[in-house]
């Protein structure tokens, strides 16, 4: 099917007689499937649009908790690129022999406390999360964001009693945004792009830096498109999009 698509795209390109400037409205040259950590959605959606307008490559994203994507990939889910929210899960994929070439770190993220707009509960530190009567939601410890949150709470020597352990960091964010939870620990980037919650900074001494690696997968059916996507993520342009979405560049 992909062969057919490539052939069709080639015919269109020849017919258009303008291979140097493919139009963004023209038919897609190829498609790339990217498995990406849920926190990457706002930034990667924009990078995907960029790739379509500059390279005429359509990107299909599957966003979920990194641990979910890792399970899917080890069970043979077809994808071209994997972007993880921690190095540990990428290492699992790498040691499974599923990566083509090298993995590259492309972004960092920090943790922040998400609270309702205006911070009505007056939450200012991680220690405040231990207050009784406060509904706190975290990501499950199997999710990178949950693991990082546990590390931060351990550094701050705080014990919280979460109301729920979500399967992806965006689940934590939505519980706070919906008003069901008073606070949750998410990434800075989640708060920057959400617009529905306020962020309470966590001091560096207690914070944890999340490393995001990306790699082309061995089973890729579209090596050119996959490489183009990874290159764009690592380029000045891609890094600017990531920074605008609240990530720290590399």
């Amino acid at each position: 099917m992909i062969k057919t698509a490539v052939t069709l795209a080639a015919i269109f390109l020849v017919a258009a007689c303008g291979p140097t400037t493919p139009s963004s409205t023209g038919p897609a040259r190829t498609t790339v499937t990217v498995f990406a950590a849920a926190s990457l959605q706002p930034a990667f959606d924009r990078i995907g649009q960029k790739l379509q307008s500059t390279h005429n490559v359509v990107t299909t994203f599957s966003y979920a908790g990194t641990q979910t994507l890792t399970t899917q990939l080890t069970q043979g889910a077809p994808a071209d690129v994997f972007a993880s929210a921690d190095v540990a899960h990428m290492t699992t994929i790498e040691s499974g022999g599923l990566i083509r070439g090298q993995l590259a770190l492309f972004a960092h993220n920090r943790l922040e406390i998400a609270v309702a707009k205006g911070n009505p509960k007056g939450i200012h530190t991680l220690a405040d999360l231990a207050r009784s009567g406060l509904v706190v939601v975290l990501a499950d410890a199997s999710v990178p964001a949950g693991k990082y949150a546990q590390q931060a709470l351990a550094k701050a020597k705080v014990t919280v009693h979460p109301a729920s352990l979500e399967q992806q960091v965006t689940g934590v964010l939505s519980k706070v945004a919906l008003g069901e939870a008073d606070a949750g620990i998410v990434y800075v980037s989640d708060i920057v792009t959400s617009g529905q919650v306020d962020g309470v900074a966590i001091p560096d001494a207690q914070n944890v830096i999340a490393d995001y690696p990306i790699a082309v997968l061995k089973g890729t059916q579209n090596l050119t498109g996959a490489t183009e996507f990874v290159d764009l993520v690592l380029s000045t342009e891609g890094q600017a999009i990531l920074r605008a979405a609240g990530f720290e560049g590399v």
């Binding site: 908790g65 641990q67 979910t68 890792t70 399970t71 509904v135 939601v137 499950d140 199997s142 979460p162 109301a163 729920s164 352990l165 979500e166 399967q167 519980k175 919906l178 008003g179 069901e180 939870a181």
Partner: protein, 261 residues
């Protein structure tokens, strides 16, 4: 009259359909880590999830019996447009994707929901993230199965028994408890079993509305889903338990169940 011979194509398609059911079950049984299964059964995560699942599914079946039988009685008494409307509303949770049901529950009973906001402001009660939320989610999804079964039973009921009892001087409640309910027993039973089985398997509405926390809202299906990512053997064992329970229901209730439907 001789029955026409079934064409081979129909037999082939039927066999394919059967395989679609059987192969996954075979996979579960064959790939199950039998030597670890007992260990997994003793694992606190498993036992906690099982205990919670049993509690929640039985509670929601109980609530469905208390609210569902009267609802079925009203449904059986109505005719025309009203009946169609009520029926559509009652069966909606059967066709609604459970996750959408969970979102709807949140918008009604969440802290900022239609009713939930009043509860929260007046009494400081928050339903989401509690076991009550898990029970509500399961009831929402499972009660229609009971209502439909009981309504069907009521419609096929021979009302002369009730009339006879009334003519002999029995009051409404006496007729209801001594005549109507006993006559309805097969329908109520099969409806309750279906309702309970559906509640036991509930995932989408529960995880959306009640969240996930061991011992509070993490039922077996949610534990299976989570374990698949960290401990696949535990996920297979838990799935196997659900399979055994389902088969036990099917075998144990076969006659009464099929007879009533």
């Amino acid at each position: 009259m001789r029955r026409a011979k079934t064409p081979a194509a129909i037999g082939l398609l039927a066999a394919l359909g059967l395989l679609l059911f059987l192969l996954p079950l075979a996979g579960l049984v064959i790939r199950a880590p039998w030597n670890q299964a007992l260990g997994e059964l003793a694992d606190p995560t498993t036992t906690t999830a099982l205990g919670l699942s049993i509690f929640c599914s039985l509670s929601s079946t109980g609530i469905a019996l208390i609210l569902g039988i009267p609802l079925a009685m009203i449904l059986a008494r109505t005719r025309g447009t009203l009946r169609n409307l009520l029926r559509a509303l009652t069966t909606l949770p059967m066709v609604l994707p459970p996750v959408a049901g969970g979102v709807a529950l949140e918008l009604a009973f969440g802290r900022r929901g239609l009713v939930g906001s009043l509860l929260y402001q007046a009494f400081g009660i928050q339903i989401p993230f509690t076991t009550a939320a898990a029970v509500m989610a399961e009831t929402f999804v499972a009660m229609p199965f009971l209502v439909i079964a009981v309504e069907a039973g009521l419609r096929s009921l021979d009302h002369r028994y009730e009339e006879a009892a009334r003519s002999l001087g029995a009051g409404y409640w006496r007729v209801f408890t001594r005549v109507t309910l006993p006559l309805l027993r097969p329908a109520i039973f099969s409806g309750a079993v279906l309702c309970w089985a559906r509640a036991l398997g509930e995932f989408g509405a529960t995880i959306t509305f009640a969240g996930n926390f061991p011992g509070r809202t993490q039922t077996v299906p949610i534990a299976v889903y989570l374990a698949l990512e960290s401990k696949p053997e535990a996920a297979i064992t838990l799935s196997l338990i659900l399979l055994v329970v389902s088969v036990a229901i099917l075998v144990g209730m076969r006659d009464r169940w099929l007879g009533a439907l």
